[in-house]
Symmetry: C2
Subunit: 463 residues, 2 copies
C-alpha cells in the first residue's frame, strides 16, 4: 500500500484537477442542466484513467454510467455514486460562484463537491492509482453512477430490476461519507427512506385584492390548515398508521446507538441554535436522529413575497414536504394514507404531487464489508470510526443493494459542515486526498475479509 | 353642464393621454421606484392644467402633492387620491407590460390604472374642464395626492395632524370607485381599517440538508403552527378579544345592507369558484363582506420553491398577513393582543414586523356629500347607485377625514373586474370619460346641496 499512497500523493494536483473539472459542470437534475455534459465528461475520464469506455445505460430519466473493470480474483466490489447535484439556490448566500470550484484556505467550495462529486472522483482515483502502481486490480470493480439521486432516483428501481445481473456484487461502497466535528470518520450502515410530496391548493382564477378575502376562500389558508394536520408541535406525525409498520429496534441497534457519537455542543454552536427539537439530548436525541422518521417542509410559497407590504389574496399556494422513513415504512402506503387523511378532514381540495418514494435500508455490522471498512479506517486514522446504524439521510440503497442481497457501507471525503444541499458546500482538500488513499486501502481489506470468509466456509464444509 | 360635457368629449384624446403618461411611471412605493418622477409629472400637469404649481408637502416618507384652487363660493370640496401603485409582480401573468399602458378593445391595461391613477386623472380633468369652459371654479377645490397609500399611508396620520387647517373641507371625494358586473355604479360611504404584519421565524444559521430535520427545529413548521393559531377553518379569528370592540350594526346599516347588491352568480362565475367562504350566500354573505373583519395571508415563503424536489431544512420563513378591521377595532391594540397571544402559546420565537395600521371609517348616508353623489349618479346613469356602507377595502379615511369631521364618499372609474393589486389591471375607456363628466357634474350637485343646508340652517335660525 505504501507505494500506492506515495503515487496518490505525487499525483495530488492531477486528482484535484479531475475534481475541479467535474464540479464546473452544473449538473442539476431537478432543472435538467448539465446532465449530458456530465455523462460526456465521465466517459472521457474513464477512457483517460482506464483505457476503457464505460457503458451508458439508458433509463426512463437520466442514464446510469456503468463500468466493470476486471480484477485478478473472482470477487466484486461496487461503488455507487451520483453525478447530479442539488440546485444551487439560494445563490445569493454563496460566498463563491457555486459552479466555479474555489479553494479558500484548506477547503474547496462548489455545489456538489461533498454531495457527491468528491467521493465519486476519490473512488475513481483510488482504483486508477492501484491499477497504475500494481498494473492490475486485485478484485473486480464496478462503478454505478446515476444521475437522479437528488430527484429521488426515480428510474433506479426499474434499472435495478433490469440489470440485476450486471450490478451484482459482494459488497457496495455507498455514495457518501463524512467526518464528525472532531475529525473522526463516520461509517454508515444504512439510509432512511423517503416520501417527497408537493401539496398544492388553488383558489380564484387570479390573485385578488385582499379585501376580497372576506368572502373568497384562500388557497394559502387551506394549505396552512392542511399542513397543520400533518405534525404537532411535539414533532408527532399525525397521519393515522404512520408509525405502525416500523420495525422495532434490535439489541444490536441499541448497542450501536450507545457507541454512536453525536457531539451536541459542537453542533449547537456550529448551527447557532440553543437547543434541539423538543429540548432532546443524549440517548433520546441520538435515537430521534437515527431511528425516527421525519416530516419536514422543504419549501412553501404563495402570494407576495417581495419587500414591504402588498395586500393580495393569492390564487394558489404550494408546499414541498419530505418524510424521511425508517425500516418497515412503505412510502406508497404512506402516500395513500396521507391522501385519505386529508380527505377525511375535508381537504379534498388539496392536491398531492409525489416525487421520491424510497424505502429505508440497513447493513449488518457483522458483514465482511463492514469489518473491512472498520479495519481500513482504524489502520488509516488510528481510531475506531463513529459507526452509525443508518444515516439520517436517504438514498436508493434498498433498490440497488438490499433487494439484491448486497451489503453496503458508506464512508468518504465530506465533513460535518460540508453544507450539503446548502450554500457554500465544501470539503477539505486533505480529506479528499486521504479519502483516495483510504479507498485504495479498503479494496485490499475487503479482499482479505472476503477470503477469510471463504476459508471459513471451506473449513466448515471440510469438518 | 352640457357645454362642459361637450368640452370633455372634444378633449377625450387629450385626457386619455394624461392617463397614459401617468401610468407609464412605475411608482411602486413598496420598492421606491418612480416616486420622484411621479411628483415631477404631477407638478408639470398642474402647471399645464391650472397655471398654478401645487405644493409638495414633505412627510417622513413620500411627499403629498397638494393644491388649493380658489372658487367663487366659500365652500370647499377636496379630492383624496394617491400616485403610488402596487408592485406589478407576478409580472409573468400580465398579458401586456404593466407600465406600458395598452388599449385592447374597450379597455386600457396598466398597473395602477384603476387603483388609483384613472380616478386621480379623471378628477383633475373634471376640474380642468369646468375651469376652461366657465372661466372659474364654483367652489374651492383641494387636491390631496399622497404617495404611500399602497404601503399603508404610514406618514399620513402625522401629515393630517400637522396640516389639519390646510386639508379642512366640507366634504371629500375618496380615491376609488367601481361599477358592478351589471355596470351599475357603486357609491361607498366608508372603508375598513387594517393591521398589516409580517411574521418571521429563524432556525439554524444556514439552510441544512433535510435529514437534519430529525433534530434541528424548523422555522417554517414554527410559522405554520403559529399561523394556524390565528384563524380556524370556519374563518373565526382566534386572537383573544379580537371581536370585542366592534361597534354593533345600526338599523341604518341593516337597511343599507339590504339594498346593497352583491351579484353572487356573476362573481362566482367570474372568479371560477364554486362557492364563497363557509358556503355563505345572501344577507349573510353581504354582512360578512362589508361588516366583518378578515385575517388574510398575503404571502408566505420559505426554503426551496423551484422546480422538482429539493430536500432542505430552511433556515428562515416569513408570512405577510393583513387584517381588515371594522369600526371600533384599534390596530395598535390588536397588534399587542397578537404578540401576547403568540407568546402565551409558546411562540415567543416568532417575530412580528408591523406595517399598515389604520382604523375603519364611515360616512352617514344623510350627509350632503352623500346626497349630492346619489343625485349626480342618478342624473348621469338613470339609476340609483349601489350604495355600500363601507367598502371591504382600506384607506386612511379615518386619519384624513373622519378625525377632522370631514364626510367622505367614493365613486369613480373602475369596475368589478379591474384587477386591482393583480395582473392585467384595467379600466374601460368610456368609464374614464364618463367618470370625468360625472365628477364635473358632482361639483355643482355638491354646491347645491351645501347651499340647501345653509338655507335650512338660516331658516331654522330665523324661526
Amino acid at each position: 500500500m505504501q507505494n500506492i499512497k506515495a503515487y496518490i500523493e505525487e499525483n495530488r494536483e492531477y486528482y484535484i484537477n479531475w475534481l475541479k473539472e467535474f464540479c464546473e459542470i452544473p449538473s442539476v437534475a431537478a432543472q435538467n442542466r448539465g446532465m449530458t455534459e456530465s455523462v460526456t465528461y465521465l466517459k472521457e475520464l474513464f477512457n483517460e484513467a482506464f483505457d476503457q469506455s464505460p457503458e451508458v445505460l439508458e433509463t426512463k430519466g437520466y442514464p446510469v454510467v456503468f463500468s466493470h473493470l476486471k480484477g485478478t480474483e473472482d470477487m466484486t466490489l461496487s461503488f455507487y455514486n451520483h453525478y447530479d447535484v442539488q440546485p444551487e439556490d439560494p445563490v445569493e448566500l454563496w460566498d463563491t460562484p457555486p459552479f466555479e470550484p474555489t479553494i479558500i484556505g484548506e477547503q474547496m467550495y462548489a455545489r456538489g463537491i461533498a454531495d457527491n462529486k468528491g467521493n465519486l472522483i476519490a473512488r475513481l482515483a483510488a482504483i486508477h492509482a492501484i491499477k497504475n502502481v500494481t498494473g492490475e486490480l486485485p478484485i473486480n470493480i464496478k462503478f454505478i453512477f446515476e444521475g437522479e439521486e437528488e430527484i429521488g432516483s426515480v428510474s433506479l428501481p426499474e434499472f435495478s430490476d433490469r440489470y440485476a445481473d450486471k450490478i451484482q456484487a459482494d459488497g457496495c461502497v455507498w455514495e457518501f461519507g463524512y467526518r464528525d466535528g472532531d475529525h473522526r470518520l463516520q461509517l454508515s450502515l444504512g439510509v432512511k427512506g423517503m416520501l417527497y410530496v408537493e401539496l398544492f391548493s388553488r383558489g380564484a382564477n387570479t390573485d385578488l385584492h385582499s379585501a376580497q378575502a372576506s368572502i373568497v376562500e384562500s388557497p394559502v389558508w387551506r394549505l396552512v390548515w392542511a399542513l397543520n394536520l400533518l405534525k404537532d408541535e411535539n414533532e408527532k406525525i399525525l397521519i393515522p398508521g404512520f408509525y405502525d409498520d416500523i420495525i422495532p429496534l434490535t439489541e444490536e441497534d441499541q448497542e450501536m446507538i450507545e457507541h454512536y457519537c453525536l457531539n451536541e455542543d459542537f453542533l449547537l454552536d456550529h448551527l447557532d441554535i440553543s437547543n434541539f427539537v423538543n429540548g432532546l439530548e443524549g440517548e433520546k436525541l441520538k435515537v430521534k436522529h437515527i431511528f425516527e422518521p421525519t416530516c419536514n417542509i422543504c419549501g412553501i410559497q404563495s402570494g407576495y413575497t417581495g419587500e414591504g407590504s402588498k395586500t393580495v389574496l393569492p390564487s394558489k399556494a404550494f408546499a414541498k414536504v419530505d418524510f424521511r422513513l425508517v425500516p418497515g415504512q412503505d412510502p406508497e402506503k404512506i402516500l395513500r394514507d396521507l391522501r385519505n387523511y386529508l380527505d377525511d378532514h375535508g381537504f379534498t381540495d388539496i392536491g398531492i404531487r409525489s416525487f421520491t418514494k424510497e424505502e429505508a435500508a440497513r447493513t449488518s455490522p457483522n458483514e465482511q464489508i463492514t469489518i473491512a471498512a472498520i479495519n481500513t479506517i482504524q489502520a488509516s486514522t488510528n481510531e475506531m470510526p463513529n459507526v452509525i446504524p443508518n444515516t439520517p439521510g436517504t438514498g436508493p440503497m434498498f433498490e440497488l443493494c438490499q433487494k439484491h442481497g448486497i451489503p453496503a457501507v458508506s464512508f468518504g471525503v465530506g465533513h460535518f459542515a460540508s453544507n450539503n444541499h446548502a450554500p457554500n458546500e465544501n470539503i477539505f482538500i486533505e480529506d479528499f486526498l486521504e479519502g483516495i488513499k483510504m479507498m485504495a486501502s479498503f479494496v485490499f481489506h475487503f479482499k482479505d475479509e472476503m477470503e477469510k470468509r471463504e476459508e471459513e466456509s471451506y473449513d466448515k464444509a471440510k469438518r
